[in-house]
């Protein structure tokens, strides 16, 4: 229960945020739901035609949208695996008594500070020109060729860039998790004769469960919504093999001028992302250990 005074502070701090969140997220969200029932090109002076559920019906027979769903799922699966694995390994390494651990933390975090668009353009050069000339020089053309021109490898390239960008950030979350484990628990494990492996899996990981929840949630929703790297690295190509959900929606709305249809896609996209992430959070939450 709040005291009167507390309530004042509570309002003071939350009201501006609620106001902003309402005006830029909640209201547009509901307006967007409304638009998804119209056929409209986004210009107020041009006619809006009410089509009911037609946009939603059309969506399930849209081969391109469905294949973008498959790419997104595959990308998300691979990226989550790689990002969390690397993030966790980095975190474990930089929390040891390593001399260069502060420098290492800074360096590993650095890629996250570069915007996704720029990152995409940098890696475009690496996977394209750099890879082909390495291949020509050393002859290993089965590995070093222009990855962005092969539909399977272009997706892997996206996974690699996303990992390179996100792993450092996820590492920070795991570091806080590791540092939050009380020393005495680890010590007790040592005294009981647990080796490094057992300590890691039986003591550290269960106590780090909240970090797993957050990291998985972050990577899951970020990978599902990936756009900037997708846009600048592959542009959806070759032959739409790397066109993700967000990019498909962007193309529908801004390139093809189908605002209503694009909105319908966006709403479905929202429902999918919300359902998947909430399900994930509910699973990992259950496994969190409460420290008393």
């Amino acid at each position: 229960m709040f005291k009167k005074q507390d309530k004042g502070w509570y309002i003071l701090f939350t009201a501006p945020l609620i106001f902003i969140f309402t005006t830029v997220v909640i209201i547009p969200f509901f307006i967007g739901i409304g638009y998804s029932f119209f056929s409209w090109d986004g210009l107020p002076l041009n006619p809006k035609v009410f089509v009911g559920m037609e946009n939603y019906v059309k969506l399930f027979s849209d081969g391109r949208f469905l294949s973008s769903a498959i790419h997104t799922t595959l990308f998300t699966f691979l990226a989550i695996l790689l990002i969390n694995l690397l993030g966790l390994i980095f975190a474990l390494v930089v929390t040891t008594k390593l001399k260069v651990r502060n420098a290492a933390r800074a360096m590993l975090f650095m890629p996250y500070l570069i915007g996704g668009l720029i990152l995409g353009y940098i890696w475009k050069f690496i996977f394209g020109d750099a890879f082909s000339s390495i291949g020509e020089q050393i002859g290993l053309t089965s590995v070093f060729f222009n990855w962005l021109l092969d539909s399977r490898f272009a997706l892997y390239a996206l996974v690699i860039v996303a990992t390179w960008q996100m792993a450092g950030y996820i590492m920070i979350i795991y570091i806080t998790g590791i540092q939050g484990i009380p020393e005495d628990v680890i010590e007790a494990a040592h005294v009981d004769g647990a080796n490094l492996w057992v300590t890691l899996f039986r003591v550290k990981f269960p106590l780090m469960m909240p970090s797993f929840t957050i990291s998985l949630f972050m990577t899951l929703s970020n990978c599902f919504k990936v756009f900037d790297v997708n846009f600048s690295l592959t542009g959806g190509g070759p032959n739409n093999a790397t066109e993700m959900f967000a990019m498909n929606i962007y193309n529908e709305i801004f390139q093809l001028n189908n605002y209503g249809y694009g909105q319908a896609k966006a709403i479905v996209f929202f429902i999918v992302v919300a359902a998947v992430t909430l399900y994930q959070v509910s699973i990992t939450k259950k496994r969190e250990v409460v420290m008393v």
Binding site: T23, I27, L45, L149, G237, Q255
Partner: protein, 415 residues
């Protein structure tokens, strides 16, 4: 329980406040100054041609010095100009004067276009160059641009590349010398947009053909010009570097340094060669598709006045365009600073770059074909055609499958 109720009350208050707030701001139009004044003291110009941005700024200062009306020039990065413009117009924060590509772009925006038929110089615009919608002149052309094969005069001669057979021979000869016979590049229009315009333009009625194609009445796969186009495309795949590995800069650089003999480009790229010391002469020749001997020449962009601006602003916008096309300063900028090819009688450009001279020459001889691509469904090049081209250049797709795939996406895009 009580906590939740409080939260709900707050939330609903904010939603209502938010609704009121957004509701109030939407109708507010930009700077309507009332009826007493006939000409606004300030107009905003937003245009798509990145190459002339600096010159536009200089022009704005001269205009202010001569007439006292301030011109604010908004910059753009080029690629997303049309989206930015639409967003601004949709929010009633639109510029007074803006540019569009005449065709499906201007058709879509026609409710926002002011009738410019009354401007004094409209009668002097060259035949067919002004953008006319519903019988009214709405767009004033910038210039004409043409595209075809930009080639190295010391490497190939247009007399030897007249049809498919001689084209393939040229490609083979150049490949034997380790030179790219004809280079495209990965950007959507340079990859497929411009080159696919040619078979359309060679139809008896190009614009009708676009409409028939959308309606499914004709198929590219059954049209001889397109069958030949697919063969040309296959020759490029067989005898030249993969265009997907080449970007615009590299394409230009390769031609300038003798690694390519020709590129499929237009006169807009002339400025790109300023960075190089060329030891040969550049020329421009038609893509010899089905014996074609014409360059594709048309108006890339035109000026429009925003019909949703206040009367005073619209008046100021019209006066600005009139000044640009009739005053000595305005004409000097169009010709000398922007480097445009004249489209309005009474102007002459003596300092055209070498490629623009070729375009002007072909235009004077009447050897031009139109740009039916301006009538293609909006967004089709980036969203539908590029993926097919990418598939063609990364797999062993046959020319027949390529055309069938183009037909399929065309119908899909036209829905």
């Amino acid at each position: 329980m009580k906590k939740r109720r409080v939260a709900i009350v707050f939330l609903s208050c904010f939603i209502i406040a938010g609704l009121l707030f957004t509701g109030c701001t939407i109708p507010g139009t930009s700077g309507s100054t009332g009826g007493t004044q006939t000409t606004a003291k300030k107009i905003i110009v937003f245009q798509s041609k990145v190459e002339i941005t600096d010159q536009m700024e200089a022009l704005a200062e001269e205009y202010k010095a001569e007439t006292g009306v301030e011109v604010e020039v908004w910059g753009t990065t080029g690629d997303d100009y049309f989206q930015q413009l639409k967003t601004k117009l949709a929010n009633n924060q639109g510029p007074t004067v803006f540019s569009l590509a005449p065709g499906s772009e201007s058709e879509q925006m026609k409710n926002y276009l002011e009738d410019l038929s009354g401007l004094s110089f409209v009668g002097k615009i060259a035949e067919g160059m002004a953008n006319v919608i519903d019988g009214k002149v709405v767009g004033i052309p910038y210039t004409v641009e043409g595209f075809g094969l930009v080639y190295n005069k010391s490497m190939i001669s247009p007399d030897e590349v007249k049809d498919y057979t001689s084209f393939v021979k040229m490609m083979q000869d150049q490949k034997a010398k380790d030179v790219n016979g004809l280079s495209l590049s990965q950007e959507s229009y340079f990859l497929i947009g411009h080159i696919l315009n040619t078979p359309f333009a060679l139809q008896a009625d190009p614009f009708q053909y676009v409409a028939d194609l959308a309606a499914g009445k004709v198929k590219m796969a059954d049209t001889p010009e397109f069958q030949e186009f697919a063969k040309f495309y296959a020759a490029i795949r067989d005898y030249a570097k993969n265009p997907l590995e080449i970007n615009y800069d590299k394409e230009i650089g390769d031609l300038a340094t003798g690694k390519s003999a020709a590129i499929h480009q237009g006169n807009w790229c002339a400025g790109m060669f300023n960075d190089y010391q060329l030891d040969f002469e550049l020329g421009m020749m038609p893509l010899p598709l089905a014996g074609n001997d014409c360059l594709a020449v048309s108006v890339p962009a035109a000026w429009y006045v925003n019909s949703q601006a206040s009367d005073a602003e619209k008046q100021a916008g019209k006066e600005f365009l009139t000044w640009l096309y009739t005053s000595n300063t305005g004409k000097r900028y169009l010709m000398e600073e922007f480097g445009f090819i004249p489209v309005v009688a009474g102007m002459e450009n003596k300092n055209l770059d070498v490629l623009s001279q070729e375009v002007a020459k072909y235009t004077a001889e009447g050897k031009t074909i139109p740009w039916p691509m301006s009538q293609w469904p909006a967004g089709i090049v980036d969203v539908y055609l590029v993926p097919v081209a990418e598939q063609f250049f990364t797999t062993e797709m046959t020319p027949e499958d390529f055309l069938a795939e183009l037909d399929r996406v065309w119908v899909e895009a036209s829905k």
